[in-house]
C-alpha cells in the first residue's frame, strides 16, 4: 500500500513539475493531469458532495451540522456555559507558574487559529453571500456556534490521547485518539479507521491546505501586478515553504506567525471602521440577514440555498469536526485535557462568528449585492447574485472593502498571501503527522513528505486544477466523515473527563493561580 501510495504521489508530482517548464506541452500535461485526476477522483468527489435524495442538500453538510448539534446537547451547551472559563484559561489564570516555558493555552489557540483563519474567512464568505445572499450569514453564524462543541470534543481527545515521546516531543490528533481510544473502550477497528483518517488528512493537507492556498495566493498577486505564469509564484512559494519546513528557517515562520495575527487584527479593525461609518445601515443589514435566512430574498434555492451556503462555508472556514485542530491543540502543556477542549471552542467563535460575520456585513453594507428596487429581492446573474462590479470570491470582498477604503485591496492582497502561507505551514504539519503515523517517525520519511508538499505548492499555483481542488475539498470533508464517526464512540470519554473537571472546578479543587 505504502509503495503504491508514494508511487502515485511521485507520478503526479513529476508530471506537473515538468509541466510548467515545458511551455506548450504544459497545457496538454495540465489537461492530462486534470483528466486523469477527474477520472480517478470523480466518483469520490461526487459521493462526498452528493445531495440527500430528493433534495439539493449535500449530506456531508448535514453530517457536520447534526454532529455539532449532538455534541452541543450532549455536553449541555458547553460553548455558552464555559465561554468565560475559556477566556480565563487563555489569559493564563489557571496556568501553573512552574510550567512557564511550556506551550501555553494561548499559544496552542493562536497556532490553531493561524491554520484556520485565512481564505475561508475572506473568499469563502464572499462565495456564501454571493450565492446564498445575506441570509447565508445567519446559518453561518449558527453553524459556527454549534461547531464550537465539535471542536471541544475533538481537541479534548487530541490532548488526552497524544503520544509523548522520551525526547520530550509530542504527536497528537485524530489518528492517535481513534486508535488508542477505541482500544481503551474495547471497540475493534480503531487502527484501520485511524489509517483511513491519515490518508484523507494527507490528501487534505496537499489539497485544501496547500494547492488551493497557493492557487489563490497566485490569483491575488496576478490581480495586482498583471497576469503571469503561475509556476513562478509556485516556485517562489515552494522555496520559502522549503526553507521553513525542510531548512528549518524558523525566522521566516516566526515572522509570519507574528504578522498573521496582526493582519487578522487589521482586517477586523478595517471592517469595524467601515461598519462604524455606515452605522445607520447596520440595523438594515441585520434585517436582511434575518429575512434572508428564512425567505432567501430571491436567491437561488431560497431558504435552502442560503442555508447550504452558510453551513458549508462555516465548515470550510472553521474546520470544526474535521480533526485538523486536534493535531494543533495537542501540544499544549496541561494536566487536564478538558482545558484545551474548552480553549479550542473559542476557535470557531473567533473564526466564524466574529471574522466571517465581519466580512459578510461589509459586503452587505457597502451595497455590493444588487437589489431589484421593484421587489426588494436580490437580482440574479445565473445562480449567483448580481454584484456591482460583477465580482465574486476574494474579488467581491476586495471590492467591498475597496469601495470604503480605496487602498485597502492592497492590504487585503498582502493579508491573503500571508494567510495562505501560514495555512500552508500549519497544514504541512498536519499532513506530516498523518504521514508519520502511517510510515513511522524518522528523518527520511519526514523529508519525503516535506518534499512532496513543496512540489504540490508549485502544482497548486501553476494551474487551475478544478478537479484537483474539488478532490482536496472532498478529502478535507472525508476527514470529517471518519473523525465524527469516531467521535460518536469516543464522546463518552470526553464526558467523563468533563464531569470530573466541572466538579473539581466547582468544589475549588482546581484553583486559579492568578487573577
Amino acid at each position: 500500500m505504502r509503495k503504491i501510495f508514494i508511487a502515485l504521489l511521485v507520478q503526479i508530482a513529476a508530471i506537473t513539475v515538468i509541466g510548467p517548464a515545458l511551455a506548450q506541452e504544459a497545457m496538454t500535461l495540465d489537461a492530462q493531469v486534470n483528466q486523469a485526476f477527474a477520472a480517478v477522483t470523480g466518483p469520490f468527489v461526487s459521493f462526498i458532495f452528493a445531495p440527500i435524495p430528493g433534495t439539493s442538500f449535500p449530506w456531508i453538510v448535514m453530517w457536520l451540522v447534526i454532529a455539532a448539534s449532538i455534541f452541543t446537547i450532549y455536553f449541555g451547551f458547553v460553548q455558552f456555559r464555559f465561554f468565560g472559563h475559556a477566556i480565563s484559561l487563555v489569559k493564563g489564570d489557571y496556568s501553573d507558574p512552574n510550567d512557564a516555558g511550556e506551550v501555553s493555552h494561548f499559544q496552542a489557540l493562536a497556532t490553531a487559529l493561524s491554520g484556520t483563519v485565512g481564505l475561508g474567512n475572506i473568499a469563502g464568505v464572499a462565495v456564501a453571500v454571493g450565492i446564498g445572499g445575506p441570509g447565508a450569514t445567519f446559518w453561518m453564524i449558527l453553524a459556527g456556534l454549534l461547531g464550537m462543541a465539535s471542536k471541544f470534543t475533538e481537541c479534548t481527545l487530541g490532548v488526552k490521547f497524544r503520544n509523548e515521546y522520551e525526547d520530550g516531543t509530542v504527536s497528537g490528533g485524530p489518528m492517535y485518539y481513534i486508535s488508542k481510544g477505541f482500544k481503551q473502550l474495547g471497540i475493534p477497528g480503531g487502527k484501520p479507521l485511524a489509517i483511513l483518517f491519515s490518508i484523507f488528512c494527507i490528501f487534505g493537507a496537499l489539497g485544501g491546505g496547500n494547492m488551493f492556498q497557493a492557487n489563490q495566493a497566485h490569483a491575488q498577486i496576478a490581480g495586482i501586478v498583471g497576469d503571469y505564469p503561475g509556476w513562478i509564484t509556485g516556485v517562489a512559494f515552494a522555496v520559502i515553504v522549503f526553507a521553513v519546513i525542510v531548512g528549518g528557517m524558523k525566522s521566516i515562520a516566526r515572522v509570519t506567525e507574528k504578522v498573521v495575527p496582526f493582519m487578522g487584527i487589521i482586517y477586523v479593525v478595517a471592517a469595524i471602521i467601515i461598519l462604524a461609518v455606515n452605522y445607520d445601515k447596520i440595523g438594515w443589514a441585520f434585517g436582511q440577514i434575518f429575512e434572508g435566512a428564512f425567505t432567501g430574498l430571491g436567491v437561488a434555492g431560497g431558504l435552502v440555498g442560503a442555508l447550504i451556503q452558510g453551513f458549508k462555508r462555516a465548515a470550510f472556514s472553521n474546520e470544526a469536526g474535521v480533526g485538523s485542530a486536534a493535531i494543533a491543540h495537542s501540544a499544549v502543556r496541561t494536566k487536564e485535557p478538558i482545558t484545551e477542549g474548552v480553549v479550542s471552542l473559542l476557535e470557531p467563535f473567533i473564526d466564524t462568528v466574529v471574522i466571517c460575520t465581519m466580512t459578510a456585513l461589509v459586503i452587505i453594507i457597502t451595497g455590493q449585492l444588487i437589489i431589484d428596487p421593484a421587489t426588494g429581492n436580490y437580482m440574479l446573474d445565473g445562480s449567483m447574485i448580481a454584484t456591482v462590479g460583477g465580482t465574486s470570491g476574494v474579488a467581491l470582498t476586495s471590492a467591498a472593502f475597496g469601495s470604503a477604503v480605496s487602498w485597502f485591496p492592497y492590504v487585503l492582497a498582502v493579508a491573503v498571501i500571508l494567510f495562505a502561507f501560514s495555512t500552508m505551514i500549519s497544514w504541512s504539519y498536519y499532513g506530516l503527522k498523518a504521514w508519520t503515523y502511517l510510515f513511522g517517525e524518522g528523518k527520511t520519511t519526514e523529508l519525503i513528505f516535506k518534499l512532496i508538499f513543496c512540489v504540490f505548492v508549485i502544482i497548486g499555483a501553476a494551474a487551475s486544477l478544478g478537479p484537483v481542488i474539488d478532490f482536496s475539498d472532498a478529502a478535507i470533508f472525508a476527514m470529517a466523515v471518519v473523525n465524527i464517526f469516531a467521535l460518536y464512540f469516543l464522546m463518552r470519554l470526553v464526558k467523563q473527563e468533563f464531569y470530573s473537571y466541572r466538579e473539581r472546578l466547582a468544589s475549588g479543587e482546581i484553583k486559579k493561580f492568578k487573577g
Binding site: G92, S95, P97, A100, G101, E102, V103, S104, F106, Q107, A108, A110, T111, S114, G115, E164, D167, G168, T169, V170, S171, V244, I245, K250, A253, R254, E257, K258, V260, P261, I327, A328, A331, V332, R333, I425, S426, Y429, Y430
Partner: protein, 145 residues
Amino acid sequence: MTTTLVIGLDGHESGERVLAYGTRMAGLIKDCELLVVYVVEWSPYSFQTPEENAQRHKRRDEEISLATERVLDPALAKLKEAGIKARGVVRHGHVADILNAVAKEENAEQIIVGRASSQGLVDRLFGSSTSTLVMSAHVPVTVIG
C-alpha cells in the same frame, strides 16, 4: 535566621561583577545564602508554529540544562570555592517579573543585578529589564555597573 540575597545573572560579563559583589555582601552578613537566578526570556503570549509547539517541552529542557551548564554551575562553583552558601535556579518568563517573584517566594532581603547589557532601540523605548525591575521590585535592588 538565614538572609537570602537574589542574584540575577544574564550570561553577560557584568555577571562577574554581580557575583563578586554578592560574595562580598554574603561575607558581611552572618548567615547568608545566595540564590543565583537565570531567567530564559519567554512569553506565554508569543506566536509559534505547530512544529515549534510540538517540540517546546524538549526545547525548554534544553534551555534549562544549557543555562545550568553555562551560567549557573560555574557561578555556583565559584561561590562554593569562596565558602559561600548558594543555590541556583533557572526560570522562564520576563526577567523583572521572575526576579521579583523569586525574591518574594524566598523572602529575600535584596536583589542584585547587573546594569542592562544591551542598549538597543527596544530598551530605549520600553526600558530595559533592569529599569523595569528597579521600578517594580518589592525588595531593594542593587544595580552593579
